[in-house]
Amino acid sequence: MDIKLIKKLIVLMQKSEMTEFKYRDDDFYISLKKEQLQVISSVQSKSAIEKEEEIKKPSKEKELIEIKSPMVGTFYCSPSPGAPPYVEQGQDVKKGDVLCIVEAMKVMNEIEAEFPCIIKKVMVKDAQRVEYGTTLFLVKKA
């Protein structure tokens, strides 16, 4: 992917009155949309969109992936109060590592990494209530 090209496109869009931009060729497809002041760019594959929506979705910083809560409940960063957190910012995790707990109706649901990655940011606080789809972590694929 040619970052410079995309950057140029965004600058172009921001300066212009354009609100939407789509481009596709043999190698890639890009869609730019402008609504009021926001600029969002995303690269999506058509297959398994639902899957992506549920678990992870490219964030505004393109290289980061969101890990979302698979259920409504309470987020816990550690196995018990006072214990060290499962993961911290900057940490490398393997596929299957427990990232956190989401408690729903007294059941502690361990959320595991679906792929090896680096934790870039923890998006919710310990004991915070989360919905289905709330972003829990921003990660980078390892």
Partner: protein, 445 residues
């Protein structure tokens, strides 16, 4: 009175609950699937919680997620709407354990009424007219044959735990009964998890009449007159009206009295519907009690001017019924068409609504959560709008329904609006010449 109600449903009925809550000054929480995140109920509710992905199993039927949402929001009551968890005693039990009110009848009443055969036996003993049939579960094809001979063909085999028309078999001749029994048995087992089957005399050319009931916990109960729901497609109601065009004044009084008697026998509480079949000689037979707010409740609201949803919430909060039977009258004739997103062969037609004009003007009510630009998804029921009209005569509501259907514009998806135009313009509709099989016989090839 409740301070905050959690709405455990979607679409027009979620919106209906929110409307009632707003008018009563009660805050609302709506739980929703990711698919419904841009829906009107989510937009206008005070609070909202996303509880799962599009699949109903993981969202609107997800008891754990809904219970968790109740806890998170401190709601003090749950309104289940219709469908989904509305007749699920386990969910009502979870609500009780969380110390929040499940808006519906008491759990024991709900449980009791889900066993249709037991209820029928009980009511038969108290001289409520029921359809002739087996006095219990039919255990074998041989027993089926025996009973059928006694009550006379044609007969009907029904699943004890069934509903919605599944697990039903009509048998007109003795030679078919063995195969029919085995098929119905298997269908019941697959569809409802329990194979129990019972038998009834099959009523030819029946009409479906139901009585709307309000009952409080202090033993006060009133009826809001009847609805005719004869026009069905494969046991799914499509058009309802009130008053019933098939009842004489005498029979109307009789059926309303019997309905109230049933309420007393069952110790029924909250809103409910007592369903009857009417045969060609105007004899009526009890079928079952529906323990939820029904899709077609606006028909009765429109005739009587009583807001059933608000009354339901007040009754669930333990308030005393403040409407007496003398206060209730049929101020208007009223009729409802269920507008579904489906093609001319009644196959669901999801998609994006590109252009929309919803009927309005005098005597027209529409209950819908659709808007131009929204997407009708394939995940849920295909009902997209309920079009209800009122007028001073049956003729006036027929003409008004025709003009309302005429001005209803939905582009981008297919609907059954055209079907209703045909149905209502037919003289057989005007002349009341139809029964519950009319649509299946005349509009399905």
């Amino acid at each position: 009175m409740f301070k905050k109600i959690l709405v455990a449903n979607r679409g027009e009925i979620a919106l209906r609950v929110i409307r009632a809550c707003k008018e009563l000054g009660i805050k609302t929480v709506v739980v929703y699937s990711y698919e419904d995140r841009e829906s009107i109920p989510v937009k206008i509710s005070d609070e909202k919680i996303c509880i799962g992905p599009s699949s109903s199993d993981k969202s609107y039927l997800n008891i754990v997620a809904i219970a968790e949402a109740v806890l998170q929001t401190n709601a003090d009551a749950v309104h289940p709407g219709y469908g989904f968890l509305s007749e699920n005693p386990s969910f009502a039990g979870v609500c009780r354990d969380l110390d929040v009110t499940f808006i519906g009848p008491p759990i024991p009443v709900m449980k009791h009424l889900s066993n249709k055969l037991e209820v029928k036996k009980q009511l038969k003993k108290t001289n409520i007219p029921t359809i002739l049939g087996s006095d219990g579960i039919v255990q074998s094809a041989g027993e089926a044959k025996e009973i059928a001979e006694k009550i006379g063909y044609p007969v009907l085999l029904k699943a004890v735990w069934g509903g919605g028309g599944r697990g039903l078999r009509v048998i007109r001749e003795e030679e078919n009964i063995e195969n029919a029994f085995l098929a119905a048995h298997e269908e019941a087992r697959v569809s409802f998890g329990k194979a129990d089957i019972y038998m009834e005399k099959f009523i030819e050319h029946p009409k479906h009449v139901e009585v709307q009931i309000l009952a409080d916990k202090f033993g006060n109960a009133i009826h809001l007159f009847e609805r005719d729901c004869t026009l069905q497609r494969r046991h799914q109601k499509l058009l309802e009206e009130s008053p019933s065009p098939f009842l004489s004044e005498e029979k109307r009084k009789e059926i309303l009295d019997i309905a109230l008697k049933i309420v007393r026998i069952l110790n029924y509480e909250n809103v409910g519907t007592i369903e009857f079949l009417l045969d060609e000689q105007e004899n009526f037979y009890f079928i079952e009690v529906n323990t939820r707010i029904q899709v077609e409740h606006p028909v009765t609201e429109t005739c009587t001017g009583i807001d059933i949803m608000k009354e339901q919430i007040k009754l669930a909060a333990g308030e005393k019924l403040n409407i007496s039977q003398e206060d209730v009258s049929l101020k208007f004739h009223s009729m409802e068409c269920r507008i579904n997103a489906e093609d001319e062969r009644f196959v669901p037609s999801p998609g994006k609504i590109e252009k929309l004009f919803i009927p309005g003007g005098p005597g027209v009510r529409v209950d819908t959560a659709i808007y131009s630009g929204c997407t009708v998804t394939p995940y849920y029921d295909s009902l997209i709008a309920k079009l209800i009209v009122r007028g001073n005569t049956r003729n006036e509501i027929i003409e008004r329904m025709k003009r309302a259907l005429d001005e209803f514009i939905v582009e981008g998806i297919k609907t059954n609006i055209q079907f209703f135009k045909k149905l209502i313009s037919n003289n057989r509709f005007k002349n009341k010449d139809y029964d519950t099989n009319y649509i299946d016989r005349n509009f399905l090839k």
